[in-house]
Symmetry: C2
Subunit: 277 residues, 2 copies
Amino acid sequence: MITSTSNAQIKELIRLQRKGRARDEAGVFIVEGPRMAAEIPPERIVKFYVSESYMKKQHSSTGHSFHGEVLADAVFAHVSDTKTPQGVLAVVKRKEYTLDDILGNAEGSSIHGGQKPLDGYENPRNPHILVLDNLQDPGNLGTIFRTAEAAGATGVLLSRDCVDIYNPKVIRSTMGAVFRLPFLYTDDLPGTIEELKAAGIQVYAAHLEGENAYDEEDYRSGCAFLVGNEGNGLRNEVTACADHLIRIPMQGKAESLNAAVAASVLMFEVGRQRRNK
Amino acid sequence: MITSTSNAQIKELIRLQRKGRARDEAGVFIVEGPRMAAEIPPERIVKFYVSESYMKKQHSSTGHSFHGEVLADAVFAHVSDTKTPQGVLAVVKRKEYTLDDILGNAEGSSIHGGQKPLDGYENPRNPHILVLDNLQDPGNLGTIFRTAEAAGATGVLLSRDCVDIYNPKVIRSTMGAVFRLPFLYTDDLPGTIEELKAAGIQVYAAHLEGENAYDEEDYRSGCAFLVGNEGNGLRNEVTACADHLIRIPMQGKAESLNAAVAASVLMFEVGRQRRNK
């Protein structure tokens, strides 16, 4: 059992929790809590850590149980990113995706792997992509991943300056979708959007000045949605890449929607149209 | 200028920030930041406070400017609920709503007050109600209010054990919708749902075991949606009140949606149907 916070492994864990660059260099990220840990693809687990009290308790508990290097509770609390640590922490290897994965083309991509498509979905690999421009809120990014998987998106494309998907708060709020939904950061968002268009994808920008309401377009063939920063919306050079500007009609005095809500409404409209074609 | 945190007004402000019961007894709540402050209906303002540096700065700034009792910056930081205080804080009188307001019937309700209904909306006062059962996350409740206003909901009904709408974090994330969207807490949620049904409202429960997909129902006449707790969903006795169980089809391995996302998808489906009737 590790009982000191000056242990070398503990110091490294803390670096990985706090510094995106340390995570990038090591090619890993950290996952906390038994629910999230149960979703990790086994081949990607680098190492498990459990707290002393978790180890003692789990013999009596039901459901999943995890074994790993044991940390004294105070040491576990020190490395945990949460206020009420749940006693399970894993270092997980990243998976690198390609644009083909985002398009739903690659054999290796696993969002529908092993699962039957939901009733009514005839072609679940029909490209359905969310493109995020400078999204900053960790909770929003996590919620977008969770929703995108549920809505049947094939992948998420992110500008390099979006919040880090491997930020512990993002990982938590994906509820496991981060292990299954292909995603790709790009240094040149407009350039990558052009690649999508060259692959036959229609590109829609959610924009307050959109001409058609979002439900007046046809998303049954390959489509991508551009969603912008929480405060500032899409950058002009990104909006300029869109084939169509669409708007989500709003009543009352509401000026905008939360970015995750806007993305959700669009992605479920795709699902609705593809089910009811 | 108030320079001491032991000033009686400061002590009272801190009580109002931290204790729901103190807010209930005083019949007020606290609003922070210039953006939110600009949305407060003037007749409901009890008192404004500004920080010393905000007062000095606002002569040179553009946009809204607020005047009030001045607090030394350290005192302002002490009463603020945020990590980076914006220098404006208001005590605001509550507004009590009735079930008639929620139904969109009362003259006094103001969600569409003074505004033209959006193009295509023929009857914006057609009841469209969100019913929340034991919702606990402040960010979710705020986002639901913000989205409900935008989606054209007429009101929100909440079980007494939902998170306090006057919690500072909830207030912030409503983005001002809390000043405009009628809402009502009830001690007897099933009883109040029966009142909705007696008023001719069709009641739909979002439920994993729903029979029809959410987009297979007709929401063009008065409707209400039951949305449950983040972890546990709807209580059985609340689900039992519904006329119909509906499901939001999900792909991949997603087991559920964030409560605010589920509510958003349902509310915008109402808007879509009512526009395209």
